[in-house]
Structures are given as structure tokens and as C-alpha cells.
């Protein structure tokens, strides 16, 4: 059990976990608020499926950040753009909240990476 937690922590620390989580959350919220049954959405054209497309894209980018952290910078930017598009396309981006989560999450995924190490008591940076 303790080992499982340690492995999870290691997994979390080696990828943009929180940014991806926010992207997934934002996308899920947009889809939830649109709340079309899937069958209606696919038969109803752009207006009824936009929530699934925009929200789905955000979820996809979040999962990509988790499982393929190599593409973090790319999906981070795409996530921010999809969140912006959702504002116009899908119920004002899930009444604002989904767009907000997407922008914050996307920027976090984009900016994730090696941090400069600060030594204790000194301001010197070690690459």
C-alpha cells in the first residue's frame, strides 16, 4: 500500500499532473453542462455536439499530458486554445468555469518542466 502510494507520487512528479487534472475537469464540466444524450448530440449537428467536441478535446489534452508528458508543451497550448474556442462554441465555455479551468490547466501543462535548483542559503542556481 505504501509502495503503491510511492509509485503514484513518482508518477505524479514525472508529468504535468495537476495541469492535466484541471484540463480534464474543465472539459468534463463543459460536457456535463451541455448534457445532451450522446445520440442526440451526434445527430444534431455542430450546435448540439460542440460541447462534446470542445469538452472532449480538453479531456483528451489533459489525458495526453498525463500519459505522454513528452507532448506537454504542445497539448498545453492546444488546451488553452480549445478552452478559448469553447467560450464561443459551447455555452460560454460551460458558463465561464470550463474555459477558466482550461486556461489555467493548459498554461500549467505548458510550463511544466525542470525547475532551477536553489541551494539552501544561497541564491546560486545550479542547472
Amino acid at each position: 500500500m505504501r509502495r503503491a502510494w510511492a509509485v503514484f507520487t513518482a508518477w505524479r512528479r514525472t508529468r504535468p499532473f495537476w495541469g492535466g487534472a484541471l484540463l480534464v475537469l474543465g472539459g468534463g464540466w463543459i460536457v456535463r453542462l451541455m448534457s445532451y444524450p450522446l445520440l442526440v448530440a451526434v445527430s444534431g449537428g455542430w450546435n448540439s455536439s460542440a460541447g462534446y467536441i470542445m469538452g472532449g478535446a480538453l479531456i483528451l489534452f489533459g489525458l495526453t499530458a498525463w500519459f505522454a508528458p513528452l507532448y506537454g508543451q504542445l497539448v498545453g497550448i492546444l488546451g488553452v486554445l480549445a478552452a478559448l474556442a469553447a467560450f464561443v462554441g459551447a455555452n460560454l465555455g460551460g458558463l465561464f468555469l470550463g474555459t477558466l479551468l482550461g486556461i489555467v490547466g493548459g498554461s500549467m501543462v505548458w510550463s511544466w518542466g525542470e525547475k532551477p535548483v536553489r541551494l539552501k542559503g544561497s541564491r546560486a542556481r545550479v542547472a
Partner: protein, 254 residues
Amino acid sequence: MTGTSSRASRRLSPRERVSRRTTVLRDRLESRTDDMLARSRSGRRGTRVRALPMMGTGLAAVAAMFMLVSQSVLAVNFTTSDTAYRIYTDRVSGHYAASYINEQTTSSGKKAVVQFGFKAASLNGFCAITQQNLPALGTVSVIITAGEPVDGTTTAPAGQTIEANWLYLASDSLKGNGDQIAKMNLGQSADTLMTDTTAFPGTPGGFGLQAEVMNISKLDTASYGIGLDGQISLPNLKIRVLPGSRTYADCVSS
């Protein structure tokens, strides 16, 4: 030597082969996990400060789009299926309207609704209230207002009229004063309904209503769907999130 070993592996029973394969996979997983554990200990990774300018840019872009929407330059798409909205407006001026009785599929089964279709509608004031049950926060009302204040009187200040094309409403209750209705057909078979030149068909033989001009004031509906095949301009857009259930009275207080 390889010959003997391959002959030996051929002699393995299927169960043994599976168990050997599992061991290989488990070893690979373990070595990967160890790699990851080692990587997680070396160096510090995380969200870097450069997230802030990116976030700032994104938020500025949203703010800019919000401005464009509220100046009715940019039109938005607003659709939902099974969230019940209460919609209030001081006056709807609809051109080429039709309606019939329909069933709406929501995720909690089917509901009987009146399906309204407008080819073009201009609204004096728009106020939509929806309630969401959020975990931890309880009931939260989201109030979206646009155009002139919805207070029961039509003032129609310049540039504040909301224009919507191909507006569809699925309502299970609708109140209002129809104050100018022209060229109306009541009781027309629902499958022959037209909004101008576009068919808006319901169930054959069902009750249908069709009108070329339909102006309704003090509209109050409970709608399960606001559908738009066109787009809607929302001048002076405001979104407010307030705790608890909110009603018509909260449309004006800002």
C-alpha cells in the same frame, strides 16, 4: 545449444508459456517503475513561473471575447438539453414562428414539451436562470442577463436589442401576453409546419401552430432546451453566480 533450448521451449505446456510471459511483463513493468522512481528523485520538476504570462494571455483573450460578445460583434452558441432554464424577456418579436407538441429526450427520460421555432427573433432583454447542484457548495444559481434590464417594461434603448436566428425553445411551461400575432394558423397538422420557407415538421396529425408575426411580451418560460441553428448576439452580457435558488426578481438587481 540453441537447438536444445528451443526444443525445450517447444515442450513447454501452454500454462507454463503464459506464466513465463507474465514474468517477463512483470519484470519489464518493475524496471520501468524503478526508472520512474529514480527519475522522480532526481531534480525538481513542476509548474514553472512562465505559466503566469501564459495564463494572463489566455485570460486577456477571454476578456476580449467577452467584450466582443457584449458589444454584439461576436455571436455565441448557446445550447443545452436537460438543464432546465427559466427564461424571461420583456418582449419577443418573432418572425415566422411555429410550434408543436413534442417529446424531449433528456438523460432522465422523456418529457412532453412545446417545441417553438423562430426564424428570426429579436428580444428586448434576456434573463436566463439556471440552477446547478454542486458538490460542497450546494445549490448555486447562474443568472445570465443581456440587453435591457428585464423588468416588465419594454424600453428598447439603442443597440441593446438581442437578435437571434433560428431560435428553438423546448418549454414545458410558457406564460406571456401575445400582443401582436398575424397570419396565424391554429390546429394545422404538425407535419406541415413551416418557418417561412423551411419545414419545421412535428408528428403527422399532431397539433400545430404557425404564425408569420408573433410578438409576445412579458415572456416567462421554463425551457429544457435553447437551441440555435443560427447564432445569438448578447449585448451588455452579464453572468452572475449567486448561492441558493433565484427567481425573476433577481434579474434586475445587479
